[in-house]
Symmetry: C2
Amino acid sequence: MGSSPVTLPFPSLIPVDKSSGVPVYLQIANGLIQQIRRGILQPAAKLPGTRAMAEALGVHRKTAVAAFEELHAQGWIESLPSKGTFVSRVMPEASPQKLDQPATTQHPAQTGFALRGNAHTSQPLVLYNGMLGFNDGFPDERLAPMEEIARTYRAIVKRSSARAYLSYVDTQGNPHLRSELSAHLNLTRGLHTSPDNLLLTRGSQMGIYLTAQVLIAPGDRVVVGDTNYFTADMTFRHAGANLVRVPVDDWGLSVNHVREVCQRQRIRAVFVTSHHHHPTTVTLCAERRIRLLSLAEEYGFAIVEDDYDYDFHYNSSPILPLLSADTKGMVIYIGSLSKAIAPAVRLGYVVAPPNLIREAAQLRRIIDRQGDAVMEQAIAELMHEGAIKRHLKKALRTYHQRRDFFCERLREKLGNEIDFKTPDGGMAIWAKFDPRIDLVKLSEKALQQKLHLSNGLRYNPEGQRLNATRMGFASLTLPEIEQSIDRLKKIMMN
Amino acid sequence: MGSSPVTLPFPSLIPVDKSSGVPVYLQIANGLIQQIRRGILQPAAKLPGTRAMAEALGVHRKTAVAAFEELHAQGWIESLPSKGTFVSRVMPEASPQKLDQPATTQHPAQTGFALRGNAHTSQPLVLYNGMLGFNDGFPDERLAPMEEIARTYRAIVKRSSARAYLSYVDTQGNPHLRSELSAHLNLTRGLHTSPDNLLLTRGSQMGIYLTAQVLIAPGDRVVVGDTNYFTADMTFRHAGANLVRVPVDDWGLSVNHVREVCQRQRIRAVFVTSHHHHPTTVTLCAERRIRLLSLAEEYGFAIVEDDYDYDFHYNSSPILPLLSADTKGMVIYIGSLSKAIAPAVRLGYVVAPPNLIREAAQLRRIIDRQGDAVMEQAIAELMHEGAIKRHLKKALRTYHQRRDFFCERLREKLGNEIDFKTPDGGMAIWAKFDPRIDLVKLSEKALQQKLHLSNGLRYNPEGQRLNATRMGFASLTLPEIEQSIDRLKKIMMN
């Protein structure tokens, strides 16, 4: 009581750097916390007043006041009326109780038990971000309306109604976004969905995963193309499926072969990327779509329709999804906003009858609990006011131009070495290399020259070497296309 | 050529509403698109100039110019030098080809195939957002630094370096956040992690899911408490585990019982919520932690340590996690930033030796591909400058005060009807109701009076009725606590 404040060389203990990014009041608060932690400032020690502190440190008094307020809020100091300010008797940080064990200094290098092991997911993933070259067919994230999205996100959390999006929310996804998306799908794809038919997911990949998990019991057979989206293969296998492969030709999956398989054995599902087959980019023709639907009804299998790039078609009119003609509930439709906006915005969806949506949502609950409700609301508002549609239009025009330029240049410069068809839509071509060129070696050589070109092995059917790969064009500007093709040509000619 | 522009009653076709939230230039652009779609404006029709259009619609000429620019960018109109502006000959929207099938008008009500069925995830989830009452122990999302997070998110996407976060990224999580988090865990929990030991997930739930999937083969035994976090139960069962239950007393999971189980049968893993057992809130004592670790080494089982609320302890010093004393790689440690910040920010983590982290990351790739890289970077930057730590300090003080007030009031008003211990930390109490009170009926009555009180059934061991439930206090302000308890008392006394 009435004691005098501690005298310490505060300026040397608490260096203030006004050019640092950290506000000065926080530098002071953090400096004082450090002295308390180190025991230089003891519990119950009386502190100088804010005026004296400000003078000692050469800062404005308001800054010292802000620092003390911060310390107070954090529980490091306490004020007694007309007595002054003291270091708290009870520290806000309790030092934890150590376990009575020999001290370790590093994390164990290996688990002390064996893992279950899962070969189906073991393909390593390498990123080539920032490297020139040809990816699998990614969108150009530079076109994405991220500023509008971030601005809307921020506006939402500032509203008094924000609370609704900040706590635990509906696992099925934000109702506004489901409503906007349902209307959008009905308008653009001839569907008849209501928000109850939609489950929002993290990108289409989670849609495929949830679908596989609610559908497949170990040993179930799933029909896929002899070439097929490799991540879908992994996902169905992880769920315990045996894959049955049928040929894919210029009109998509051979439905005659699907029929033959069904006549021999019981089939649980057929997986199709109907709009542009992954990896070969061909479109499943309308007549086969109808026949596949009839087969599904006849044999009772599910059709998993992954329509990841429906938004991007350049020449002919797109064919409506199989789901648009499904009257018996045979189709599970999976789509993505991540390809349409940017991979950073992880948003996809599953469209199916409510009984499947409910089961998938309940499973999602133990995987991921819920989506990003603020982001979902932001996208819903941007869809409502038209910003997403405007972005899609602009992206479509840009990618169309890039496809034309890319195909023209590639044909002109490497038309003898690479055989390809100009795809009707999508973001990549399927490039078949001349048999005299070893694509695996070429890919290694390219990497040494800082050019990304997939060796195509992951696109191969088991036991075959197609010597072909996907070459994405959508994420490259026209000068980048020119530069990439020129560099590839130089490497090939060396 | 030289033809005159179409004459149409534009003001009646394109109503402009200056008070609407949609910019006027967009209203005009959208109105013109509608007329083009409806065929009122035909392909190749010549449009009036921007000056004439502006006059006709009563807007500034700049607004008409902006509308035309938008239409041009979207591909609806084209300009010919010194000829004027025309409706595009080739529409940017191709109308899709319909499938030749009888028209449907609604989505099928039911799948045409049976689902696999999965009883383990079938507990329905009901939300009581916005209703007064007692949840499972949620954080108060009103305290979360969402504005700082949103501001940082926006700042990141505006930077020229944003591209690195907007495309496909490392499935294991943002390296900056892993580095910040690793340092934070080492400092606060006596761990010895490096960023290679961390996998970022969507909340701790995804951590539990991935752990269960890389660990458990169908039929494996997992030891859990006789009361246990019900979502963990579901997750292990979904992976095919058989649960073996051991008693939980005032010092946590009975390790003697774990030993007895191990002597009888092979055990794959033990799941513990060591800091505060869910649901009963007791802390696993230090001595049992050491014995459990030795048992794990002796019998080769994994310890899955879910430390979801380590940040929140009020009285005693917290005991360091089991992982801090693990030298043999027996512990998989799971934590969460969602509880520490807000459920809306889905961020959790798994800490384990790199071999497990790699497998879990590869599995995550087929579930979810990657996290929200921009958000992860934002949290990393806020951790670096101290904002997350400041938030945690303030939340801790607030919850401490709420716990004290809640326990005092509840004891005072309903101390005879509800038996509970003041928990050392966490966000909820474990409330045992007098046997003469039927908690299930009380919960129904409360719901009718717009008060949320869980009936506690989901916390019960199989085949038992504990007549107990969790009552969360952290998300309630002091007046809300007062009001909730008063209303509960009134309902109980009626």
